[in-house]
Amino acid sequence: MQTFDLATRGLRELNQTLHALRGTTNETAWEIVNAKGSHAIAVGVDAPLDITVRGSTGYYCAGMNKQATIRIDGNAGPGVAENMMSGRVIIEGDASQYAGATGRGGLLVIKGNASSRCGISMKGIDIVVHGSIGHMSAYMAQSGNMVVLGDAGDALGDSLYEARLFVRGSVKSLGADCIEKEMRPAHLAMLAELLERGEAGHKAKPEEFRRYGSARKLYTFNVDNAAAY
């Protein structure tokens, strides 16, 4: 286990150190201490590392992550795991605005609540939120899955493309072109697998969720291109 003290070594050295580990390394386990709400912690990692951040983080923690598993032992500030490509980001506490925004792959797990605009413009990422999500979540979400064990705020999935949204609690309001859809066996199987990977298998059953998706009236969906989504 490598321990990196942000208070003494600073952010630039942290990210340079982690970026230098591209490809093969045997220094895979990292603990970052004294996070103290700093911005851009462990951004742009591209290696199969296992990183734990002690304390709460500021803006953009774990942004653009590839391959790594990054666990935040606290709350995350705005833009956590923004544009994640692959790997996993797990937040033990709450996440602020636009968690997982524009994410292209990988898995984001938020064990507390996420605030507004969670998963905005998501493009392939899977997001599992154990608590509730704020308003305008999954706005213009293009692909990937969002699972919410709690409630969703106003305008869920506004101007949605082909992302799948699963909410167990109430939805305050649906955004434009977002509708409830039938939950088919394939969705239940997918949801069971997402809950398991999202460390929520013991908290909820797939049958308790409702599925929401695009009514496909707002954007120029062409069924011939369905395979591309």
């Binding site: 103290k36 709400g37 700093s38 911005h39 709460s56 500021g58 803006y59 709350n75 500030g77 705005p78 506490g93 709450d94 602020s96 605005q97 605030s115 507004s116 704020g134 308003h135």
Partner: protein
Amino acid sequence: MCGIVGLFIKDKTLEPQLGALLAEMLVTMTDRGPDSAGIAIYGGADDGIAKITVQSVQPDVDFASLAADLGAAIGVAVSLRRKSSHAVLEMPMDQLDAARAALSALRPDVKVMSAGDNLEIYKEVGLPKDVASRFEIAQMSGTHGIGHTRMATESAVTTMGAHPFSTGPDQCLVHNGSLSNHNSLRRTLVREGMTFETQNDSEVAAAYLTQKMKEGANLGEAMEASLSDLDGFFTFVVGTKDGFGVVRDPIACKPAVMAETDQYVAFGSEYRAMVNLPGIETARVWEPEPATVYFWNH
């Protein structure tokens, strides 16, 4: 972008540290607003003594005989405590209005930062750490306080354009965001008798709340009304003589984090601002909901 910090003390033993804690929070928010900074401290006892905080660009000249001149004009003893470009004038509470009228006649160029029973406001152009040390904020005690670091968008970088804005006795407001209907609202408020020092949108928000409270609303009701009458982006933190309030617009894109323990309620634009508060590790930390009014009273 701007930075806001606020601290409302619940445990009296923490009151002597208010200035030190708030100054440290303010300096942490320098990245969000390096243009200018300001701080409002509620510190006075309920002792029948009124305070007016004034500011001058030539304090040596303006403040030299101000206490004596003002005392002679209103017929009571007035004291003056100078801090850099600012000074705090003290006089009996029942002479506050007379003192303000006399002040504007005696020193028309001197600006009033705040007036009331226990509020002092210090604000200047410059880095937050310089502003905080210039006014010895860390040495101040008090019950609650609000600070602001400014990155200007809506009006010039001047002392009067810095926050907090005070438009009523013991009232002040800081703002992160921008309002789009401030010109029309300013015209309405002018017709209702409010006066303005700047073209700044945040001053309009402060005056709006003052007007609502003048009409009988409490702080919570005034902030509730602002959600329907103010158009634009805002996170406001507001102070009154014994209260402290927070409200965000319905879109809520301007950041806000709050923390509460048995000892205090704290506000920061970012969690970073609060990391050195006592007991923050075990505090209840949350993000205030959009279009929801929060306020605390002593």
